[in-house]
Amino acid sequence: MVHQYKSNGMNIVLDVNSGSVHVVDDLAYEVIPLYKEKTAEEIAEQLAGRYSREDVMDTLSDIADLEKEGKLFAEDIYRDYIFDFKSRKTVVKALCLHIAHDCNLACRYCFAEEGEYHGRRALMSFDVGRRALDFLIANSGSRRNLEVDFFGGEPLMNWQVVKELVEYGREQEKLHDKKFRFTLTTNGILLNDEIQEFVNREMSNVVLSLDGRKEVNDQMRPFRGGQGSYDAIVPKYQRLADSRNQMNYYVRGTFTRRNLDFGRDVMHMADLGFRQISIEPVVADESEDYALRMEDVPAIKEEYDRLAQEMVRRNREGNRFNFFHFMIDPTGGPCVAKRLSGCGSGTEYLAVTPWGDFYPCHQFVGNEEFLMGNVYEGITREDIRDQFKACNVYTKEKCRDCFAKFYCSGGCAANSYHFHGSINDAYDVGCELERKRVECAIMVKAAELMAEEDGPEAQPEKRTPEAQPEKKPLEAQAGKMAPEARAEG
């Protein structure tokens, strides 16, 4: 399967099954779709008048060489491999600990419904958390790296237990030859120097919730009394990000129908000095006025294009930042087994409620149909686990002919369930946006690789971190993209 598209002045050809990315000239862009359909003579004849016969034959020879090398028109040979891979014994390697089903904000789009997950307010006890870590160690087989995310609600509302669990994990990892990677997802309200110091010492990643511009953030992320949270959190986030040398963290936001110009929010966060940024489309019931609808998709795609072009421009200036969804690296990335087995929800990844129940992931918490067991008895519903285990791109009709299947791995099971009542379907708006993000991500990387090949003389002088523009005061930030970037796309 071959997917080709034009983006930011480049002709890009993605050979889906090999993962090869080619940047081609106009002639090759026209010849590639004809290659399997017509003879060389027919192609030369069709393009006569615009391209010389010699050039056409030369291009056909390039294509034939790439086909021989398995980099163009590669066959999909993974189906049996992945079914065999997924039939191996399940190990658990990651837990999302709902350390607090309570929150000090009242974000309008929160799938946890202000932290409570359709249930009661609750804080996880040390005993439940300890049992969860014991379960993880006992069920992780030979996997050494184990991940534990302190999630909520707002995990800092139960900070003492977080600290005790980290301490317990550090003791246990030595005894069992494991390595815990702790992460924290927080709204930042309770961040202080003591927490920052602990987080920097113990957490391999920290996710800091922020939606972007002040007016955008404050509309969707207010306190329970209605006042906005932006001013309370941004200075703390800036300090924390700098104290981690701008690495191993994300400022992470959600965009909704109310800010379809979310690229400006990404730029706003970049202008605040953040270098690791993630903004995701909201997933909400269509009855919500802020929910994304299929009719919004064209505007969102244009916004992704503008954002990608602006990233290329800033990269060239040496003013680089990472956007989580544009981080595809065609020269590396995960193995095909990982790409085809998905996010691991319900199998190698589980969510744990404050009272110790297991769910396939945080998005299923509160839906009793998906209650899989608990920290006291382990997995009691192996049938649920097996359903998730069997789910992959080859079991989903919509994924069969999709060029993005090796990047999204069949998409989010929770989104599929919420929109179609089945984990074996796919959330259509999400698919449209994922395809666009994959195209943009490849373009950004292609632009970077092409610039590298052109040599240093072709590139503007790179600024050292010290020479980067001084951060502007918050009030003075417009968060605007360059006019030339907005005019294209």
């Binding site: 030369d58 398995g70 390697k93 050494r144 994300y250 095909v336 990844y349 999400g430 991500a441």
Partner: protein, 47 residues
């Protein structure tokens, strides 16, 4: 090649031989939580 510039040397097919160790990060533990993005994860063995 005059008309085609290939950006990567490795193919997905090559990762079948040594892949699948499972030591890599779970995608939802990084910065998503509401969508599935696996292609942008990094391989633990290439670090």
């Amino acid at each position: 090649m005059k008309h085609i510039k290939t950006l990567n040397t490795q193919t997905l097919c090559n990762t079948m031989k040594k892949g699948g160790c499972g030591e890599c990060q779970t995608s939802c533990q990084s910065a998503c939580k509401t969508s599935c993005t696996v292609g942008n994860q990094s391989c633990e063995n290439n670090k």
